[in-house]
């Protein structure tokens, strides 16, 4: 039962599997994002208060969700690498960090573009916005710490530890709109029970969310292959694989 998990610890296997998964993930992402963009931007009804400006949610919410998801992936992969000394865990963490940082930046930028017409300001020192900004700094810190070590092995483990410490921020961001009286609106998409959004608006959003997840998976596969090649550059199978 656990053999698939053990095999994921082997760099050549991961390198090959990532190549197989990547086109499927990318194709799925293109399909879901394509549907989400056309339906969300073209056919979903405008919001009765926000007009057409609400449509930025189709990029903003998936970005924000993925910023947390990528961080959690990074921390869990780092923990796997730290606890079981599986090198591929660290490779996944290293591959996930820049993608997550980009999603965080995307969420912050789209949020502030939306905030200008809606709140009248690009930036407010609000709990959710601030904690998302802290998340960006955490990503930067983890990446900087990893690259600061000459010894890649120690850098990996130090970065994994920092990622795990920073995980406390993830629930803070997620629940910030519930715990504090935030300027940011509360959750409208419910995981359990009925969402507060009408279906015509909700379906494109869910499609975008799925599309972004698949896109993240695809980019993770590409970056992971690069990481594996770079980490295993001394080994024989890499020379065979790239044919030199």
């Amino acid at each position: 039962m656990w053999t698939w998990f053990y095999r994921l610890a082997s760099p050549p296997y991961v390198y090959r599997v990532a190549a197989v998964w990547m086109p499927w993930l990318l194709g799925g992402a293109a399909f879901a994002i394509g549907y989400g963009v056309i339906d969300g931007l073209g056919f979903a009804p405008p919001d009765y208060q926000q007009g057409d400006a609400f449509r930025i949610i189709y990029v903003h919410a998936p970005c924000a969700w993925l910023s947390l998801f990528a961080y959690t992936t990074m921390a869990v992969a780092g923990a796997i690498g730290l606890i079981w000394r599986i090198k591929m865990g660290h490779a996944v963490a290293a591959a996930s960090a820049p993608i997550g940082a980009s999603f965080t930046l995307g969420a912050l930028v789209t949020g502030s573009l939306w905030g200008r017409p809606m709140w009248g300001t690009y930036w407010a020192w609000d709990p959710r916005l601030t904690s998302e900004l802290i998340l960006l700094f955490l990503y930067v810190g983890v990446m900087a710490l990893r690259s600061a070590f000459d010894d890649a092995n120690r850098g990996d483990r130090a970065a994994a530890l920092l990622a795990i410490v920073g995980v406390v921020n993830v629930p803070i961001i997620h629940f910030s709109v519930v715990w504090w009286n935030s300027l940011h609106q509360g959750a409208t998409v419910a995981k359990f029970g009925k969402s507060e959004m009408p279906g015509s608006m909700l379906w494109p959003l869910l499609a975008m969310l799925l599309g972004f997840m698949l896109f993240y998976g695809a980019v993770l596969c590409i970056r992971l292959r690069g990481e594996v090649l770079n980490r295993e550059r001394q080994s024989a199978w890499v020379r065979e694989a790239i044919g030199s």
């Binding site: 601030t130 700094f137 900087a144 710490l145 600061a148 120690r154 530890l161 920092l162 410490v165």
Partner: protein
Amino acid sequence: MRVGGWETLGLVLRRELVLGFRRPDQLVQPLVFFLIVTTLFPLGLSVQLVLLREMAPGVLWVAALLASMLSLEALFKSDADDGTLEQLVLSGQGVYVIVVAKTLAHWLVSGAALILVSPLVATALAIPWSAFPVMLLSLGLGTLTLSWLGAIGAGLTVGLKRGNVLVSLIVLPLAMPLLIFGAGATDRAISGTSPLGALYLLAALCLLTCTLAPFAAAAALTVTLE
């Protein structure tokens, strides 16, 4: 000879304090930095006392954060350079105890000293006397939490030749909630509303780091030292 955990704690704490007070310049420099930074704000912004009083808690806390970043380097660095830290880790006493002792000593030398100087700075920043107890309490809880967070950061970067900026980069994002609640509590005390909510949250953060941060810092030390 086998020494117990508490005894180790006491011995390392004593050693750290003795070393700390033998190097008074390292003790005084962050405090002078604290004073200078808090002087810069009124000079750069405005000298109107009303405005100053509104900004004072934030200024005080930002300066305290920056000053404690300075002293973090001394936490493990010199001991790591001359090999003492490795001997301590190898002594079989558990890295946890050593981290706790060193961090407590660091707080006594840097954080507590900062608290002693803060009334002076607070008076200069026109914080009223009535807000002093809350300010001192929040600084006490905050600097202790900061020492624990700093121990994680210092532990992660102890093996690096150029870890100075990196420590701040790692620790400051984690310390942002402290700034929010710490300055918030002082702010409420100045305006006369109840600061209890922010103080409770600070105390919760302090408890959380007191219990969990030593594990993280000990793990960080074993990662970077081996």
